[in-house]
């Protein structure tokens, strides 16, 4: 009786020990590398991916940042960072993905941003026997989890963890709710109709990290159409525009826009799209850069 009990106890131990084995990265027969993606799908690879196609610039950047850049066999036309990424063949603009062009690269993993057309494309690729993984990447909070899971799938767990840790600790430093600095800004994405960035975008968080207040933090969606009147009434100190050049946007000269004090005074922050246009591994750099520009006289 006692022996029997002892045996079950042992079996229990073994049962508990098995997942621990997996986590430690030993090699059970198959399905060693398992993650759950943001579409709720279980993605299992027998071995680290060797031929990866990335269909979002942020994923391309992340893969290079965790040291898996040499696995990339396909990217989008928008993937322009780091410079080495440009040597990877492009499979088009990825909006929506050209499934044939992606398949022609013979990838063993395709990384996609989770959007309607991409979910469809992922299903098509899976039917061709190509593994896919879908990630959300709208917020800074999603950079760490995406990096960690990419690390698992490419066998770069350690560097992915350290990258994710950097990104997470940056956010942890942010008080909840964010206590904004004395300077305020508005992100103007488009002028007619005026589209601004709200709290649902990583740019809002980026501004808070840099010590500035997004005057449209009360809008919960990533972006929204507002009237010039509202922008004028909220009177931001700066107008932030995603732009690679320091040429004031064309609306800056229009009379209706000059009612906005920051436009009238030409207090524009020109944020290069490569660094600010997407959430990615260079968050800290983006925050430093934004803070530097905010502090310029």
């Amino acid at each position: 009786m006692r022996r029997w009990a002892h045996r079950t106890h042992l079996a229990g131990l073994l049962l508990f020990a098995m997942p621990a084995c997996r986590e430690a990265g030993r090699t059970p027969p198959s399905g060693d590398l398992v993650v759950t993606d943001d579409a709720g799908r279980r993605v299992a690879l027998a071995a680290p991916a060797r031929r990866v196609v990335s269909l979002l610039p942020s994923f391309t950047e992340l893969l290079f940042a965790i040291g898996a850049g040499d696995r990339l066999v396909g990217r989008t036309t928008w993937c322009d960072y780091p410079p080495e990424a440009l040597r990877v063949p492009s499979v088009g603009d990825g909006m929506p993905p050209n499934v044939e062009a992606v398949a022609a690269r013979h990838p063993d993993l395709v990384v996609l941003y989770r959007s309607g057309p991409n979910v469809t494309a992922a299903a098509q690729l899976e039917r061709l026997g190509i593994k896919t993984v879908l990630f959300d990447l709208n917020l800074l909070e999603q950079v760490g989890p995406a990096a960690r899971r990419l690390g698992v799938l490419t066998g770069r767990v350690a560097s992915a963890d350290s990258l994710a840790h950097t990104s997470d600790s940056l956010l942890a430093a942010l008080p909840q709710p964010p206590t904004p600095g004395p300077r305020s800004l508005v992100f103007i994405v488009w002028d007619n109709p005026p589209i601004v960035i709200g709290a649902g975008s990583y740019l809002d968080r980026l501004a808070a990290l840099a010590g500035a207040r997004n005057v449209f933090h009360d809008i919960r969606s990533p972006s929204a159409q507002v009237s010039i009147e509202t922008i004028a009434a909220r009177d931001p100190d700066f107008v932030a525009v995603l732009s690679d050049s320091a040429v004031p946007p064309r609306y800056a000269g229009r009379p209706e826009w000059r009612v906005v004090r920051a436009v009238h005074a030409r207090r524009f922050l020109f944020l290069p799209g490569q660094l600010f246009g997407r959430p990615g591994p260079r968050v800290a750099e983006a925050v430093r850069e934004l803070r530097r520009r905010l502090e310029q006289p």
């Binding site: 603009d93 002028d191 109709p193 589209i195 009237s227 009147e229 229009r254 009612v259």
Partner: protein, 313 residues
């Protein structure tokens, strides 16, 4: 009496448009606030003028093609304007006026093409060919627009569609002035055609016998109504529905004589669009709705109600 009510409604709408807004401007500061003077007032006036222009244009085009479904944008103008706007962004044309000018050129180009198609059967503008040609030219322009958007690299291009869906964010005294200088000519041409358009309602042949120069009338009305719409597109994008329902509303209330229809359609179109824009700015503040959504939400129920009364009586 009905005219007085309409005029009062117009004044009330414009007043409300100036007093109401997402920004808090105390009543006593209304005369001095730059938000009111530089943003709200020109925006309200522009919405009113564009609504009026679309209403009048709709009356004229429905009379011309003798089709109750005619809308100022049905004849290819929206497609042409869209192509112009997207081309301006794709070519990165400089200057604050590049987009509206390009949209205007696109709309006029589409109009010229449809006009040419309409004359294909001979010297007479054929209303049926105008309608078909308008739909075809519009579809063709939309196809080229989509091709540019999907092939070009500029992410900005997709935003061109936002502009095209219409709105008065770009309103300023300059745009108001542009319309004030531009609109009287086509409006005058249409006003002068009021009586012959009444005759045209009887059919082209009877109108001819009753002394209307039908051939010239059709050309003038088509060009004037289209040029009016093209200007509206240039300053406000494509705002559907106003030019379709305002003429019907006015016909239900004021009958079929164009002498009454033109001024009432101008006022009713102005009221509808100024009211719709005020709602668009305020109901979801600090956000804003595209004005075309509001014109449809406001217009359809009124339209359905009147249609019911009309068919019952």
């Amino acid at each position: 009496m009905k005219y007085v009510l309409l005029a009062v409604a117009a004044a009330v709408t414009l007043g409300a448009a100036v007093i109401l807004g997402p920004a808090d401007v105390p009543l006593r500061d209304i005369m001095s606030s730059p938000i009111v003077w530089q943003l709200r007032l020109p925006r309200a006036v522009l919405a009113f003028l564009v609504g009026g222009a679309l209403g009048v244009s709709g009356v004229a085009l429905q009379a011309l093609v003798r089709n109750p479904l005619a809308d100022p944008f049905l004849l290819g103008l929206s497609g042409g304007a869209g192509l112009g706007a997207v081309a301006a962004i794709a070519l990165d044309l400089p200057g604050p006026w590049a987009l509206p000018l390009a949209a205007f050129v696109g709309a006029v180009g589409a109009m010229a093409l449809v006009y040419r198609l309409g004359l294909m059967g001979g010297a007479e503008l054929d209303p049926r060919i105008l309608l078909l040609g308008g739909v075809a030219v519009g579809a063709f322009a939309a196809a080229i627009t989509t091709a540019i958007v999907s092939l070009a690299q500029a992410t900005e291009l997709r935003n061109a569609f936002l502009w095209l869906w219409g709105g008065f964010s770009g309103a300023s005294w300059t745009t108001v002035l542009v319309i004030l200088v531009y609109a009287p000519l086509p409006l005058g041409v249409l006003a002068a055609a009021a009586r012959p358009l009444d005759l045209l309602a009887l059919g082209e042949e009877p109108a001819q016998y009753l002394g209307a120069d039908v051939r010239r009338l059709k050309r003038l009305v088509y060009l004037a109504a289209s040029l009016l719409t093209a200007a509206a597109v240039a300053v406000a994008g494509v705002i559907g529905f106003v030019g379709l329902i305002v003429p019907h509303l006015c016909r239900l209330v004021w009958g079929r004589l164009h002498r009454a229809l033109f001024p009432t359609a101008f006022l009713a179109g102005g009221i509808l669009l100024a009211a719709a824009d005020t709602l668009a700015r305020t109901v979801v503040a600090p956000r804003e709705l595209p004005v075309g959504i509001v014109t449809a939400l406001l217009g359809v129920p009124v339209f359905a109600f009147l249609l019911r009364r009309w068919t019952v009586s």
